[in-house]
Amino acid sequence: MTRVQNGSILQLKNLSVNFRTYRGEVRALQNVDLEISQHEVLALVGESGCGKSVTTLTILNLLPPNGYVTEGEILLNGLNLFKKTDEEMRHIRSEEIATIFQDPMTYLNPVLTIATQLKESFLVRKDFPLSRNQTIEQFLATKRSPETTKVHGRQRADIAEQMSVDLLKLVRLPDPERVMKQYPFELSGGMRQRCMIAMALARRPSLLIADEITTALDVTIQAQVLSLLMSLRDTIDASTLLITHDLSIAAETADRIAVMYAGNIVEVASTRALFRSPLHPYTKLLMRCIPDVRKPKARLESIRGNVPDLIDPPNGCRFNPRCPKAMEVCRIRKPTLKNYGNDHLVHCFLYES
């Protein structure tokens, strides 16, 4: 990779993940290289079955028992995650990486109030520093600055309560005191998602993973949540990995976009560069498939064929059976990474001279 490596929060290097099933080995991720810098929003875009959720689970070390890493490594702030023990990984999941998932109803504890769950995020470690007289914005920004005075016991609980209310205000929940006393089922989908965002922020992570967080939401609520995320960028000191199947969402929120297909990263570029000149045939086709409400078309485009079976994927480039530009070499070998200039990366033989 030619990108500047220091200042990178997360690096996936040559990551491959398989799943053992009774029908055979599913080669879910293949030689995935990904990098997220500080303060950056990277969107991982791909359709169903491309491996984006598997990527999230691998980063968090939450693969199901039949999933395993066959090669590669994951570096968080330079630390190799695979060398961590389970206990260390738990600490990392609690303090360094915060994840927001698609369906908040199944990820929020239905029998605890929002207050309990939110305060837990603050109080999660005994020596987690909380100080009096700190605004929520200051709290969120002090991740890497020197510690403020520590507080214990009853006062911590009170401060956590106050911080929770402030945090709910920050995520634009109306009437936060009331929400604190409510249970998840009493809230709407958009409100629950905002609570999840609040809980994630409370941990002051270095990396925020947002896995299809608006897929289950109505379009007006989706717009609210996305606008909230964008407004929080300056307040929080974290990078964001935004996983979505919707390129339009990526266009609105991301600095850079990585496009995935069938377990491979096929193209990575800044958002503007990607839309201005998409290089990979899959990216180009995908962009043509998206309807643009400003310019309705007579015929919508599609990509012929189906997503390949990852137990027996095609030889060479996995996109070759559906690619309008497929060449002989595409069926034999896998393309390597090419930097097309300005860190616009693509895996395609069309660009290998």
């Binding site: 009774y22 029908r23 039949n66």
Partner: protein, 301 residues
């Protein structure tokens, strides 16, 4: 959550069988017992059940196990592998003859209970309303009775014939299936494909029997398999308590009943029939568990 087609079922079943030794053992045992049931009449001459020889009743001559001091040894010339019972019959041979009796009784009871329970439960779930209420109340009444007691009372009133006894246990057994399938039908009814079938104009009965029941029958199948063991236990308990139609009937509970009065002088009469009941029940339980693992879509993968 998807249901797999039959060929995939078989593959997955074999995969599971390879993984789970107990399931494999259970399946082999069941096969073993089924084979014995089918060939019993060839292994042992059936008329032996009614050839009594009181000269050698309650005797043991197998030197492998020693039961203690009160044991009578068998007269010279006869060498029953597992001793003899009160009628002087070779216990092992009687057990072999008893196995098909118990297994076929169990199959009859389980099959009829399942059919009745499924039909009633499915109809209750599908139609709902007053019909559902009625069927549920009747089921509850039967469920409220302690099984064995109800069977005893029935047999006591209507006489101790084999048919009556089978019917008695059946009476006690069918209610479980009603609730089992009713719950399944209620939730399956809400599924999209059922609505799609309605939208296509398919009649309710057809949807129920052609679509809903085949998709919800799995827990019932698992329960039936597990119940084979339970039925054998209940039925042999009935015999054991003295409700056998014929004291000489080769039936595991019956054979054990004979042993109650001779616990110290002929303990093998309780031990071996009892062990056989245990083994058959265990075998069906194991295979039932395995079936549940294969058939439950949520436990897959």
């Amino acid at each position: 959550m998807e249901m797999r087609a039959r060929t995939d079922d078989v593959r997955y079943a074999l995969h599971l069988a390879r993984q789970n030794v107990l399931v494999l053992a259970g399946s082999l045992l069941v096969v073993f017992y089924l084979v014995i049931s089918l060939t019993a009449n060839y292994l042992v001459e059936p008329s032996l059940a009614y050839k009594f020889d009181f000269a050698q009743s309650y005797c043991w001559s197998n030197s492998v196990i020693s039961w203690g001091r009160n044991i009578e040894t068998c007269p010279a010339g006869s060498n029953p592998v597992l001793g003899t019972d009160g009628f002087g019959r070779d216990l092992l041979k009687m057990i072999v003859l008893a196995i098909p009796v118990d297994i076929s009784v169990a199959f009859i009871i389980v099959a009829t209970s399942t059919v009745l329970g499924v039909v009633l439960g499915a109809v209750a779930g599908e139609i709902g309303g007053k019909v559902d209420e009625l069927i549920l109340r009747i089921t509850d009444i039967f469920l409220a009775f302690p099984g064995l007691l109800l069977a005893l009372v029935f047999a006591a009133i209507f006489g101790r014939t084999m048919a009556n006894l089978i019917f008695a246990v059946f009476l006690v057994w069918w209610p479980v299936y009603v609730r089992l399938i009713r719950g399944q039908v209620l939730s399956e009814k809400e599924k999209n494909y059922v609505e799609a079938l309605r939208a296509l104009g398919t009649g309710r009965i057809r949807v129920l029997f052609n679509h809903i029941i085949p998709n919800t029958i799995y827990p019932v199948l698992v329960q039936s398999t597990l119940d084979v063991g339970g039925v054998i236990l209940t039925f042999s308990a009935l015999m054991f308590l003295g409700f056998s139609p014929n004291p000489a009937l080769p039936e595991l509970g019956n054979l054990a009943a004979d042993g109650i009065g001779h616990v110290f002088t002929a303990p093998w009469l309780i031990v071996f029939p009892g062990l056989t009941i245990l083994a058959i029940t265990l075998a069906f339980n194991l295979i039932g568990d395995g079936l549940r693992d294969i058939l439950d879509p949520r436990l897959r993968r």
